[in-house]
Symmetry: C2
Subunit: 183 residues, 2 copies
């Protein structure tokens, strides 16, 4: 695991905004905290990604309290942090160069939300040649409405998006499975 | 529509390979042909993207007959073509520069498959600042199996992936709707 970085995406307070609708996986943040503890204990690389929205009505704008990381995902001094304003953590940031300079070739991705920033970042990482593991229960999604008005539950959005990513862009695993491998 | 390019992704014979499982939207290719005709009639920009797989068992390897474009999506002389070996049409290609040099700021995306190369390319395009329209009935998906063995139908994969993209990365529309706007 020496060269596997834990990439923690957008675990920010603003994503508790009720306007976002129903979410699944309420335990995602505690799973993320467990993985962060394990990575720290084994002195493996950790990268935190923070969304700094430029959209007028986003709770993740840099000047708002919602931009702050949640308690479970607070970076420690010395851990790498990158800010982004689009979905993929690899667009408009120095993340790719940072990883390559450190010979980090594989990533374990966790965070919010499964189908937006997590999926976009997973896809970019895989297309750029990184080996990606995506942790199913350390990610979460919100319910969404399709262009024709059909409503999809948070679980449907989460599970189908993971199925679309698995095997093509990443290997989907669970927190328990990864912790057993590390320890 | 002068600066809106039609981006046609991976409409290649190899995607008829039975090993890929059940697909939805059998009329996607005829919808793509209709959109190509309309774009040509109005002399709007068209870009064809071809997947040249480097995976051992892919029917889209460059030396295989499956690499060829389907009849409905054959490029005409003078139409731009880009080859890619990963999912996003913007990674490892000159596509972004090509579009920027021509001041093309908006894209209508069609092709195969909804949740893999179409979604990845839509996400990249949006994150790079292009305005993207995705045509629901001119794309199609295959059934997939999740990491826990759950099976998802081609329609479920297609519809949920469109819902995840709509409003965040693109506007999802129909062929009929777009043709009415153009003509």
């Amino acid at each position: 695991m020496r060269k596997t970085a834990l990439l923690v995406i957008d675990v920010q307070k603003g994503l508790d905004d009720p306007s976002l609708g129903a979410r699944n996986n309420p335990e995602a943040e505690s799973k993320i905290a467990s993985l962060l503890s394990a990575w720290r204990e084994h002195e493996l690389p950790i990268v935190h990604v923070r969304h700094c929205s430029v959209e007028q009505r986003s709770p993740l704008r840099p000047e708002l309290p919602g931009n702050a990381f949640k308690e479970e995902a607070q970076p420690l001094p010395g851990e790498a942090q990158f800010s982004k304003s689009v979905n993929s953590a690899f667009i408009g940031t120095g993340l790719e160069r940072y990883l390559r300079e450190r010979n980090i070739v594989s990533l374990v991705i966790v965070g919010l939300t499964t189908d937006h920033c997590v999926s976009a970042s997973t896809r970019s990482a895989a297309d750029l040649g990184f080996e990606v593991t995506l942790v199913a229960d350390a990610t979460a999604a919100f319910e969404r409405k399709g262009h024709d008005g059909t409503r999809y539950s948070a679980d449907a959005i989460h599970n189908v998006n993971l199925a679309s990513l698995n095997g093509e862009f990443c290997t989907v695993r669970t927190t328990e499975d990864l912790l057993a491998e590390i320890t």
